[in-house]
Symmetry: C2
Subunit: 222 residues, 2 copies
DNA sequence: TAGATTGTTAATCGATTAACAATC
DNA sequence: TAGATTGTTAATCGATTAACAATC
C-alpha cells in the first residue's frame, strides 16, 4: 500500500569483508608515520583499486573531504562503528585443544571490543585451570555462565564430532553468534549467525591458485 | 585464421571457494547413506541455490548426467582434481606457538594431498622435539630442508612482528605458496601466492552481521 | 506418462570500474 | 594555476538466477 519503504540499500557482503580488511590494515600502521592515508595507498596494500576503496566508503557516506586525504584515526573510529566494534561484547571459547588455546592467547580481542569471559572443555584435567586469567570451566556450567554474563558470541574449537552438539547447546543457552572453527556446516536457527572459519577451504583455494599459476608458466601443453 | 584459441574462460574466485566448500561438505558425509546427492541437497547444506551448484560445476563441464543425481564419489574425485589436490605437495609450518601446534596436529592435511615435512621455530627449547613424528627444526635450516624435500607450501604462524621477515626467507628459499595466519599484509613477488587467513576479519564480519540482525529485529527506530 | 533431475543458454541482477565535478 | 585528492554518478563488467530442453 504505502511506498515509504525505508530504502534498504543492502551493503554487499564483499564490502563488509573489505571494510574489515581496511581496519585490520590500518590498525597495524605505525601511527607516527601514517597520520593520513590516501585511497590509493590503502588500496595498494590490499591489492585493490582506489575507486573500490572510495566506493566502499561511499556506502556509508564517506570518511573524508574532497581534496584532503583520509585521517587514519577517523577511518579507524568510523570503521569500528560500522562493524559494531564500538559496543563491548562478551565472548567464550568452547574446546581447549591446541586451537582453543591459540585463540585464548590471542591478544587482539580486547582492541576489537571483545571481552573473553570464560573457556570450556570436557576434560577434568583442564577444568579449574586458567589461561591469561580466564578460567577453564566445565561445559555443564555453560548455560549459567552465558546467562550471568550476557555472553553473545562463542567460538567452537571442539573436535569435529562434538561441533554440532556444542552448537545446539550454545543456541539453547542464548548465544547469538557462533565463530565456527570446525569443518562442519552447522545447523542452527535463522536468528543465530554462524561465521565459518573453514581452514581447509583456504588451503584448497591456495592449492588451486598454485596449480593454475604453474599452468600459465608452463605454457599451454596438455 | 584458426579458431583454436584455448578459450580462457576465467573461473570466478567465488566459484573456487564454493568448490572447496562442496568438497569439504561432501567429504564429511557418511558414505553409506550418501552414495548419490542432488544439486538441491548439496546446495541446502551450504545455503545456496541448486542452480548455483550446477553452474559452478558447469564451468568444468559438469559432473553428472541429465536425469541422474551426482555420484558423491565422482564429485569428490573431480573436485580434488580441479583443486589440484590429486598431486602430492610438501608443506612446512613456521612458528610453533599455540597456533602452529594446532596446525601441526591438524589431521586433515594428508587427505588433501599435503605432506607435512618439518616444523620450524627460533626457540632452542623446542628445536629437536617432534610433533606427531614431524621434527621441529632450527629456522636456519629452513633453506636446506625446503630445497632437499622440494617443499612448495609454507604456513606462517609466527608472531606478527616476525611475519614479513619469515615471508622474505620463505620466498628466498623458493616457496611458491604462503598460507598466512598473521594479520600482516605480506609483501611478496608476484609469482608467490599468499593465502591470508586473517582471523580478525572473520570476527569483524560476525560482529557486523550480529549488529545488523539486531537492528532489523529491534524495528526501525533510530 | 508424470516427476525429478542435470546441462546449458539467456535474462536479470549486482558489483566494480571509469569518469568527472568539487575541493584543497 | 597545476596537481592531487575525495565524493558521486554512470557505464561496464561479471556473477547469479531463471528458464527450459534433454534425460532418466
Amino acid at each position: 500500500m504505502t511506498f515509504e519503504k525505508p530504502k534498504k540499500k543492502k551493503i554487499p557482503q564483499m564490502t563488509i569483508t573489505r571494510l574489515a580488511q581496511y581496519l585490520n590494515c590500518l590498525s597495524l600502521l605505525p601511527t607516527e608515520q601514517y597520520e593520513e592515508i590516501s585511497s590509493k595507498e590503502l588500496a595498494s596494500k590490499i591489492e585493490l583499486k582506489p575507486t573500490q576503496v572510495r566506493q566502499d566508503f561511499h556506502h556509508f557516506g564517506g570518511f573524508g573531504q574532497a581534496g584532503y586525504r583520509y585521517k587514519v584515526n577517523d577511518l579507524i573510529i568510523g570503521l569500528e562503528r560500522i562493524l559494531g566494534l564500538d559496543q563491548q561484547q562478551k565472548l567464550i571459547i568452547v574446546g581447549m585443544g591446541h586451537l582453543g588455546q591459540a585463540l585464548a592467547s590471542y591478544k587482539n580481542f580486547e582492541p576489537l571490543g571483545l571481552n573473553l569471559v570464560a573457556l570450556f572443555d570436557v576434560n577434568p584435567k583442564l577444568i579449574g585451570l586458567s589461561l591469561r586469567d580466564v578460567p577453564i570451566k566445565d561445559i555443564d556450567d555453560l548455560p549459567a555462565i552465558v546467562a550471568k554474563h550476557n555472553v553473545t558470541i562463542a567460538a567452537i574449537t571442539t573436535p569435529t564430532s562434538a561441533a554440532q552438539n556444542t552448537a545446539n547447546m550454545l543456541v539453547a543457552a542464548g548465544i547469538k553468534g557462533i565463530w565456527n572453527f570446525s569443518p562442519v556446516n552447522l545447523t542452527t536457527p535463522p536468528d543465530v549467525i554462524v561465521q565459518n572459519e573453514h581452514l581447509s577451504v583456504g588451503l584448497m583455494t591456495l592449492s588451486y591458485r598454485l596449480k593454475t599459476l604453474n599452468k600459465q608458466n608452463d605454457g599451454e601443453q596438455e
